[in-house]
């Protein structure tokens, strides 16, 4: 959802030529990108806080006795969730900067996981090991889907440092590609 919002906000800058006008008015391309990335960061932090508050409230309602130990036990999930959102939004921003058209970008964004899955399925067995490093997987793995808990009766209840590292690398790459592309583009 937020991803679509980010895509629209960036592609509109192209279609209404406001980016072009801003650059003409003396804004640097880097400053422009930084303002977009900062917005993404803000959105991610707000989402994470929101989840934290919801978690806290539902926790308070459903736990028989309040014990701060349990509250803080799940704390690492909050920043991990924030990073998850931020990496995803960075990906959305990059798609928007590269494609510049809202419709196509949104489609690609929505089908990114499917496309990734198709690529993975067609991967030769010898490359099996790289599967967890794919971008969509990397994002999903940060905070594994809690529904699995009910299916398998168990869940990874910690944030793995490896998945954080992989997501950070992708997050950095996405924003770097956005920068490269924006710098080279005729707008």
């Amino acid at each position: 959802m937020l991803g679509v919002l980010v895509v629209i906000s960036i592609t509109n800058e192209y279609s209404y030529r406001t980016l072009r006008q801003n650059v003409i008015d003396g804004v640097s391309r880097l400053d422009f990108l930084i303002s977009k990335i900062t917005t993404n960061l803000g959105l991610s932090i707000v989402s994470a806080l929101f989840i934290f508050v919801i978690g806290l409230v539902t926790g308070l309602i459903y736990t028989p006795e309040l014990d701060w130990k349990y509250v803080f036990q799940s704390m690492p999930f909050v920043p991990a969730y924030g990073l998850q959102i931020f990496t995803y939004l960075s990906f959305a921003l990059m798609l928007g900067v590269i494609i510049q058209r809202s419709g196509l970008t949104i489609l690609l964004l929505l089908f990114a996981s499917t496309i990734e899955l198709i690529i993975k399925l067609n991967l030769p067995d010898s490359l099996e090991v790289i599967k967890p490093y794919f971008p969509m997987d990397a994002i999903d793995n940060l905070v594994p889907n809690p529904f699995l808990k009910y299916v398998f009766q168990e869940i990874q209840d910690y944030v793995s440092l490896a998945s954080v590292a992989i997501a950070l690398v992708w997050m950095f790459l996405f924003n770097f590609f956005s920068y490269r592309r924006l710098k080279a583009a005729d707008i």
Partner: protein, 299 residues
């Protein structure tokens, strides 16, 4: 005179299209510089490179003697092609927004609105403006930070003759304030009336540059007719002739500098020829422009 803009072998290729090819040019302070050229000759692309929205392929340019930095564009006001504003905001609000982007003080807004004569419509929404008013708001926005240079790309595009005259008056007024102006236009008449210098582009090549006042200098151009053999041979023997060609029912004769039409008339009379048609043409920028374009090598 101080150099405002200096362009050195600037080149831009779009794939195999050479939009701008090895352009070298200087614009000095106080010039009103006209850029002429047919559609697709590279005017907008050149201005786009100067304003940092189009990446150059090779070559260089400098503003005020400095290599281009993002900050420098804040000293330049530019309207490239269509004005871009938020339709649901008023003229005033749009300018406030732009003042923020350009880091200039909103205190300038009433002044620039006054210059473009939009003060009484400033509180109307942008989308209710006529085309001419939109163009004028764009010029107002470009003037916000009191720039040293103003760049206008076809500011009278799509306007009616009244609107064109208004914008022209406005450009002259701004030029009189001592601003340097770079103006891309198709309207030769307009360039002749407001510009001090001009350049002609053809398929990305700059084929001419010089002061506007030089237009029409050089020998007179005279129509002589009706065409017949006697007139033809008499003209060929006239000492003061530079060139001659057929045009409709008369010869188009270019005379050497200093030779007047009376001299030609007297000569023809002495030869026993009474030319029924003998008109001196004033050379306009338009003729010169077409001449330059037809003489320029097509490469």
């Amino acid at each position: 005179m101080e150099t405002v803009l200096s362009i050195n072998n600037l080149t831009k290729h779009f794939g195999r299209i050479k939009a701008v090819n090895n352009m070298t040019l200087e614009v000095k302070r106080g010039m009103v510089f006209g850029m002429l050229g047919p559609n697709g000759s590279g005017k907008t692309t050149t201005l786009g490179m100067l304003m940092g929205v189009v990446n150059k392929t090779s070559g260089s340019f400098s503003w005020f003697g400095e290599l281009p930095k993002d900050e420098i564009r804040k000293k330049i006001g530019a309207v490239l092609e269509h004005p871009i504003f938020y339709p649901y905001l008023t003229g005033q609000q749009n300018l406030e927004l732009n003042a923020m982007i350009k880091e200039s003080t909103p205190a300038n807004i009433p002044k620039v609105l006054e210059i473009v004569e939009l003060s009484d419509r400033k509180d109307d929404k942008y989308k209710t403006y006529s085309l001419g008013m939109k163009q004028r708001l764009a010029i107002a926005s470009a003037l916000l930070n009191d720039p040293i240079v103003l760049i206008l790309d076809e500011p009278t595009n799509g306007l009616d003759p009244m609107g064109i005259a208004e914008i022209r008056k406005l450009i002259k007024k701004i030029a009189e304030d001592g601003k340097t102006i770079i103006l891309a236009s198709h309207l030769l008449d307009e360039v002749q009336k407001v510009c001090s210098h001009f350049a002609v582009l053809k398929k990305g090549n700059m084929v001419y540059t010089g002061p506007v006042e030089d237009v029409g200098k050089g020998g007179l151009v005279i129509e002589v007719g009706p065409i017949d053999n006697q007139l033809h041979s008499a003209l060929k023997n006239f000492h003061g002739i530079v060139s001659m060609k057929d045009e409709n029912n008369h010869f188009l004769v270019t005379l050497q500098e200093g030779i007047k039409s009376q001299d030609l008339n007297k000569y023809l009379f002495e030869q026993g020829i009474a030319a029924s048609h003998l008109i001196a043409r004033k050379k306009t920028l338009e003729q010169q422009f077409l001449e330059i374009l037809s003489e320029a090598p097509t490469s």
